[in-house]
């Protein structure tokens, strides 16, 4: 949907995805290394523009560009399928479509900004992600940031004609408030480091 949510952190911010970001997003999603665990993406910018136009029509879908405070884009992330769901004990959503440029130091703060958006802006009770099980570094990342495994989704995605399991990991609002200080301390130190090198802002 067209939203106006912007959340600023220590070195990075999330701001709404726009049609002007199409070329940047296509560049990320067609990178052979970055795209190993995502569905094939059209290499044409006009197809991404059309995708964004359709995305604007979906009321339960918020997409963002993660960028430095200077405005240099680092990646994209979305919070979608926003809904009330008894199985998740309240208002919930999935976060995903997460892709950052190679070597980006934004991962930790981007995740923090996703949780701040989910719990402070969208008033969710929980937010979860579903990661291809073979994408072990991302599963490990989510574990390191405090997510708890909720379920294994057998044969959940098809990548290059092969079925893959996915792992659903969840963050509840209550757990977020418990672990937020520890994550923010790391992000703050990293931002200070990037700032001292003149690259954060």
């Amino acid at each position: 949907m067209r939203h106006e949510i912007t959340v600023e952190g220590y070195a990075f911010r999330l701001r709404p995805l726009t049609i002007a970001d199409a070329e940047f997003v296509v560049g990320l999603r067609t990178d052979p290394i970055l795209s190993r665990f995502i569905n094939p993406t059209s290499p044409y910018v006009e197809d991404q523009v059309a995708w964004t136009e359709r995305y604007y029509q979906r009321p339960d879908d918020c997409s963002f560009i993660c960028e430095r405070l200077s405005g240099q884009p680092e990646g994209m992330v979305s919070i979608y399928d926003i809904r009330d769901d008894e199985a998740y004990n309240g208002k919930t959503a999935e976060w995903g479509r997460w892709i950052l440029r190679s070597g980006s130091p934004a991962a930790l703060e981007c995740a923090i900004l996703v949780y701040r958006t989910a719990f402070e802006k969208l008033s969710l009770d929980s937010v979860y992600c579903r990661t291809v099980a073979a994408n072990k570094s991302v599963v490990a990342f989510h574990t390191s940031t405090g997510l708890e495994t909720r379920q294994i989704l057998k044969d959940y995605v098809v990548l290059k004609d092969v079925l893959h399991d996915s792992i659903e990991q969840i963050m509840t609002k209550r757990h977020w408030w418990e672990i937020r200080p520890s994550l923010e301390n790391k992000a703050q130190r990293l931002a200070k480091k990037l700032s001292s090198q003149g690259v954060a802002s």
Binding site: P105, L108, A140, F141, T143, Q197, V199
Partner: protein, 80 residues
């Protein structure tokens, strides 16, 4: 050479702390094959190395710290 070997030993121990596991002497540990070496652990590793060796890695170097050998080489460069 002796300094480099000592550095490698210290790096091995620090990497073990960051990854939460014992890394045997001579073991090959690479970021792209070590599943515990995620982006959060990498940030923690960078901070531990900088504190231990009294150096600072720039952003480009941070992304290159993907093995014990690469870390030792980066420490030597940072020392000038």
């Amino acid at each position: 050479m002796q300094d480099t070997m000592e550095d490698a030993e210290r790096v091995r121990e620090i990497l073990g702390v960051a990854l939460g596991k014992t890394i045997e002497q001579g073991a090959t540990v690479r970021r792209d094959t070590e599943e515990a070496w995620d982006s959060v652990k990498h940030v923690e590793l960078v901070f531990l190395l900088e504190d231990e060796f009294g150096i600072e890695f720039d952003e480009e170097t941070m992304a290159e710290l993907d093995s014990i050998e690469a870390i030792v080489a980066a420490i030597n460069r940072a020392r000038g």
